[in-house]
Amino acid sequence: MIPSAFDYAAPATVAEALSVLADAGDDVKLLAGGQSLIPVMKLRLADPAMVVDLGRIGELSGVRDDGDALLIGAMTTHHQVATDPLVAAHLPLLAKAAATVADPQVRHRGTFGGALVHADPAGDLPAAVLAADATFILAGPGGERRVEAADFFQGYFTTAVAEGEILTHIRVPKYTGWGAHYEKFTRVAQQWSIVAVAAMVRVEDGTIAEARIGLTNMGSTPLRAAAVEQALAGTPLTREAIAAASAHAAEGTDPASDLNGDASYRRHLAEVLTRRAVIAAAGL
């Protein structure tokens, strides 16, 4: 399958990319790893007049220590996130979620920032960065602005990134010492999540002191399971207590019904997977 013809630019810096974007009109697409964009272009579900390839911008790639947070370049690949020692030490949730994306070849090309801006409700990274209260750093014609994860995801495939802007980095607070797990449910290999749960817990003296839970594919955006987080805080570290708290996982969600399962099935999955994710995160 051959995409429609397009003009191509491969700027070497963010500043140059912003200038290309400003001149390109509104029928332009940014190309990151291309593992979602190229398939939809081949199907001609997208046929941009211009493609701006961010793959030559070295400053957008890599993971950096930034004090109480990690600064992850938007063009860092899933494979890099899944195997980076800083991520493993301070944000194992991200490593575990990134390791479940698609398949190894796609993880070698697909990018952390590209997947977040794509904002597929079944994508694995949005729920993880939402649970971690990440901050999105956007470069635009007016300079840099920052958007909190809670405001970034706005609907199906829709984020706070405005026309003419580029996601450059994601700043994710460190959760050093927290237990983490990403529990993903699919029927076959390399499938999108039917439902998945991102969980981080801080255990103190046999008690769950704090928990952070993100839900994948339980609505048009990733969601926090706030009721579960509240129910877990201060509970003893037992399977029974975790199961009781996880029963709140579907509260406030609005899952879709599709060929993989209807909404009630997804609500059931959210409870089961939350229980499993928290138990695994707590090391029980």
């Binding site: 995409p3 429609s4 013809a5 593992q35 190229i38 398939p39 081949k42 070849q105």
Partner: protein, 170 residues
């Protein structure tokens, strides 16, 4: 009309400079411009892995990359794995373990297996199966493919492969 771009790509240790349309996929460039038809197009939708090649040493699906993105980079295809007429150990392992039936998935399976072994020289059976999840085989049930990767990892394949009759390998 979109203008063409000049790219320089090293493919199987040979440098090529060509004008390409930006929409030309890497797999089309390899097959139709360079004649490297060892790399196959299966599903053409990023699922089956038949088109797997290495970009700067790691596996990618060449149907899901534009040739312009490979400008300045190095590509290895199944045709570049053998050295001096000798199959690479992973190719020899596929041959000896009969890790194929129709052979259509084989170039991609071998390239992904090679990438997997580069990253993890001694994978468990589960790690092999997970590592090959982006490659579909409709004939073998995967058993002999997993066995071949294990044999290559364990170094138990024959080293005398000069007279191999395997197709598609120089």
């Amino acid at each position: 009309m979109a203008s063409s771009k000049t790219i320089t790509v090293e493919v199987d240790d040979v440098s090529y400079t060509d004008d390409v349309e930006p929409r030309l996929l890497l797999v089309q460039y390899l097959r139709e411009r360079l004649g490297k038809t060892g790399t196959l197009i299966g599903c053409d939708t990023t699922n089956c892995g038949a088109c797997t090649v290495h970009l700067d040493g790691v596996s990618v699906k060449s149907c899901t990359m534009f040739a312009v993105q490979a400008d300045g980079h190095s590509v290895t295809t199944i045709e570049g794995l053998a050295r001096d007429g000798k199959l690479a150990p992973i190719q020899q392992a596929f041959h000896e373990c009969h890790a194929l039936q129709c052979g259509f998935c084989t170039p991609g399976m071998i390239m992904q297996s090679a990438s997997l072994l580069n990253e993890n020289p001694h994978p468990s059976e589960q790690e092999i199966r997970d590592g090959l999840e982006g490659n579909l085989c409709r004939c073998t049930g995967y058993q002999n493919i997993v066995a071949a990767v294990q044999a290559a990892a364990e170094g138990t394949v024959s080293s005398d492969s000069g007279a191999s009759e395997s197709a598609g390998v120089a």
